[in-house]
């Protein structure tokens, strides 16, 4: 077991605010910014990350074994872990939970993560109720057989969709389980007033002794980020879950007292422009490269108050596999023009740029538009609601260019493969898919499979290199123009304690509720 912060104080309560409603706390379903880390505090999976880092560690599992072929994983479960309802968690629950999440009736948006488990296809097709590749060896041992070696499998066991749920509670509440979540997590649900407030209280029986530090976490729902910040400034709340609103960023940073309470950290995020590689003229790699060179990323970063760093490749810098040596495309208007001319468009062309309609995305789109105009590309902006942009991207003839901001890939887990499959691989380049550049390179798909079959943790460095090479190749084909990697700025109340990295935890967003504490309790 990892150590508990010796300075931590026990007790106290904090308040966190969010603008948008919390949809559900069912780990098989919740996939939003807000409920993602809430679920992590209510439920546990076999694996987890060390707080504030991207380092995997066993969680409900005490230990695990990987067969040399990389296709069989065996987990030993921790003894004495209890659900909030008092029953002990066993391997049957793990199996049940995975059967449930892959069952189409559950309608889980995360079912696809488990595609490498044997028997997945039958369950997904509704032909089987249970994953044949998951075997309960004994109440404290569970074995997974995969159809292919999968280096990401341990990460998959750490994501919310793999969290363990008690069968009896799920059956009791049926479709409403998401409103009555029962897990093994550090907190349990105490109150849920729809549309207003969710209250978590400390789980006294939490298996990880000494955690959580807080007695209570209250989530208040439905308020504008600007107002949330006002309330933080008045000391009414502790964490504005939606972050510092752009309109207030400079005001906050200009005040040393407030600035001191802002924690900055990296984020597994990349903002990029997709170019539909099946649509003329973006089917010409030179055009795509020209676009890459036309974008003035520094200016865009300046527009969002320097809350990001310019990006030159799909992976964000804090992701394993990020190629530090890669220089990407320079901002070079002349060269971009030359490339366009080579591609047969000396006078440019007209196209459309889709973007989501929430600030600052329309602004960024306009900056991109101006940059494109400088090399002769006249892009008209379609600023739409999220659902409409996604719909256009999933249609092969829908959108020539999309600015990904607002809907962008925030990694599900810290692994380089996570930026490939659905958004750059062939699997995503289908109607309704998320590969909006419709880039499908069979070669790279094979290379990706090869990289993912390197399961041995000792070879992780090697595997990262393989991924770097894949992304470098992608950049040569330039289906995307990466623009920036967002930085996270979490602001907290003065009374909150705990290491800074808990406040920019790469997986617990905005903060790691289990490990933070408040200073104003005895």
């Amino acid at each position: 077991e990892d150590a508990v912060d010796p300075n931590a104080k026990q007790g106290g309560a904090i308040t966190v605010t969010y603008k948008d409603d919390v949809a559900t706390l069912d780990p098989a379903i919740g996939y939003d910014w807000q409920n993602w880390s809430m679920i992590k505090s209510l439920f546990d999976g076999l694996m987890d990350y060390e707080p504030g880092t991207t380092n995997l560690k066993p969680d409900l599992a005490e230990s695990y074994e990987i067969a040399p072929d990389g296709k069989t994983f065996t987990f030993k479960l921790r003894h004495g872990v209890k659900f909030h309802n008092g029953r002990e968690m066993t391997a049957d629950d793990v199996k049940y939970s995975l059967d449930r999440v892959t069952n189409p009736k559950t309608q889980s948006p995360g079912a696809g993560f488990f595609g490498s488990i044997k028997g997945y296809d039958d369950v997904a097709a509704g032909k089987a109720e249970s994953l044949s590749g998951v075997t309960v060896v004994d109440p404290y041992t569970i074995k997974f057989e995969l159809t292919r070696p999968d280096a990401t499998f341990l990460h998959v066991m750490a994501i919310n969709f793999a969290h363990v749920v008690p069968k009896e509670e799920v059956e009791k509440y049926g479709a409403d389980f998401g409103k009555h979540p029962v897990g093994t997590g550090a907190f349990k649900l105490a109150e849920w007033t729809l549309g207003q407030r969710i209250v978590f209280e400390r789980n006294p029986d939490y298996w990880h002794k000494g955690l959580p530090h807080l007695d209570k976490v209250t989530f208040e729902i439905g308020q504008e980020p600007i107002v949330a910040l006002l309330r933080l400034q008045k000391g009414e709340i502790d964490i504005p879950g939606d972050g510092i609103p752009p309109a207030k960023f400079q005001e906050v940073m200009a005040d040393p007292e407030q600035k001191a309470r802002v924690v900055e950290g990296g984020q597994l995020h990349t903002g990029y422009i997709t170019m539909n590689t099946t649509m003329a003229p973006f089917d010409n790699v030179k055009v795509r490269q020209a676009v890459n060179m036309a974008i003035n990323k520094d200016r865009i970063v300046q527009l969002i108050n320097n809350r990001a760093v310019p990006a030159n490749q799909p992976l964000p810098p804090s992701m394993p596999g990020y190629d530090k040596a890669f220089k990407g495309y320079p901002h070079d208007v002349a060269k971009a023009k030359a490339l366009l001319a080579e591609a047969g468009h000396p006078d440019g062309f007209e196209t459309q740029l889709f973007a989501m309609n929430t600030d600052p995305n329309p602004r960024i789109a306009q900056a991109i538009q101006q940059d494109l105009a400088a090399i002769g590309i006249k892009a008209s902006i379609q600023s739409l609601a999220q659902a409409n942009v996604i719909a256009a991207g999933g249609d092969k003839a829908g959108a020539p260019m999309i600015w990904s901001g607002g809907m962008a890939w925030i990694a599900d887990f810290p692994d380089p493969s996570n930026f490939y499959g659905p958004i750059l691989g062939c699997a995503g380049a289908v109607p309704g898919g998320w590969n909006w550049s419709w880039y499908c390179n069979k070669d790279l798909d094979a290379k990706a499979a090869e990289a993912d079959s390197v399961v041995d943790p000792a070879k992780a460095g090697e595997r990262d290199k393989m991924w770097s090479a894949i992304y470098d190749k992608i950049m040569a084909d330039a289906p995307w123009a990466p623009v920036f990697n967002e930085q996270r700025f979490t602001m907290k109340s003065a009374r909150m304690g705990g290491a800074d990295n808990l406040y920019v935890d790469p997986v617990h967003i905005p903060i790691n509720y289990d490990n933070v504490y408040v200073n104003d309790v005895q």
């Binding site: 527009l303 320097n306 789109a365």
Partner: protein, 302 residues
């Protein structure tokens, strides 16, 4: 006492010599109305002459239009009304934005007003099944969420200024129709309408010459209030992807894009807001004066 008056005999009446003072002339006699006309003229001139009035391009994001931290510049010598979040000149954007907003606030609003008036007057005057059908349809439209219609239209059509104008017209006539309906039905009961019928006046004449003038105050109230409402509605619609898309400026979307910054950069909300207000007020001043001029019982009022 014996001068014959029959149509088949020559008429010998002496006509009054004094010509009638035209509405226009009367309007120009009123200080406030003139103020309104001047404001409208300024806005119109600003919209039409925008390219000659400013040295900037409305969509040009200037490097020196932002601070190094990416903050917009307050009003100053170079940028008279300051710059926006992308470093564009606000004055230029307001001037060009007037083009969009005038179309919305005047054309779209005018069309909505006309449809509403037409429906309301028809339903109120004819009653019977025409009236019933029209009013039930109005009720339906009123109960139907306009925004949804707008979103769907946006999905079907290529977003453009004219589409948004059409949507606004389609959505905004309903309330007018209801109010006009109520008023028309009570007007239709008035005895002078009966009197018109006995001299053989047909429905069009009664509706346009006798009922419509009485509805004028209501129409003016709704029309002038509609200016601000529609201009702001346009911003909501362009936010949903229907209507003018960035970077095209309109007063509504300048406000809408920047409203969260109203403390950090108040000029971004204040100036376009003032422009909308001025336009609406100007029309109200003209409308009020018109109403007085066309209402004979108000004569003698300066």
């Amino acid at each position: 006492m014996t001068s014959p008056i029959a149509p088949d005999l020559p008429a010998t009446g002496r006509l009054p010599a004094r010509p009638r003072a035209g509405v226009w002339r009367q309007l120009l006699k009123r200080r406030l109305a003139v103020l309104g006309l001047v404001i409208v003229a300024i806005v119109l001139a600003g919209a039409i002459l925008a390219p000659w009035l400013t040295g900037y391009d409305p969509n040009e994001q200037m490097f020196d239009g932002l601070t190094l931290e990416g903050a917009p510049l307050p009003p100053g010598a170079k940028f008279w009304l300051g710059t926006d979040l992308l470093g564009r000149d606000l004055l230029t954007r307001i001037l060009y934005g007037a083009r969009t907003s005038l179309i919305i606030g005047i054309v779209a609003n005018g069309v909505a007003l006309s449809i509403g008036t037409l429906v309301g007057v028809t339903a109120g005057y004819f009653r019977g099944w025409i009236g019933s059908v029209l009013m039930r349809f109005t009720d339906l439209m009123m109960a139907f969420p306009a925004l949804l219609l707008a979103i769907c239209l946006a999905a079907v059509f290529e977003p453009s200024l004219w589409i948004v104008a059409m949507v606004i017209a389609l959505v905004n006539w309903v309330q007018t129709a209801r109010v006009i309906y109520t008023e028309t039905s009570s007007l239709a009961e008035r005895e002078f309408i009966d009197a018109e019928r006995t001299i053989g006046a047909g429905a069009p004449r009664i509706l346009f010459r006798h009922i419509l003038p009485h509805l004028l105050p209501t129409i003016i109230v709704w029309g002038t209030l509609g200016i601000s409402t529609t201009v702001l509605l346009e911003a909501t619609l362009s936010y949903l992807g229907i209507g003018v898309q960035p970077p095209t400026a309109s007063w509504g979307n300048i406000i809408f894009e920047n409203q969260t910054y109203f403390q950090a950069a108040p000029w971004l909300v204040f100036f376009p807001g003032a422009a909308i207000l001025a336009l609406a007020l100007a029309f109200n001043l003209i409308g009020d004066a018109l109403r007085d001029i066309l209402d004979p019982t108000q004569r003698g009022r300066a």
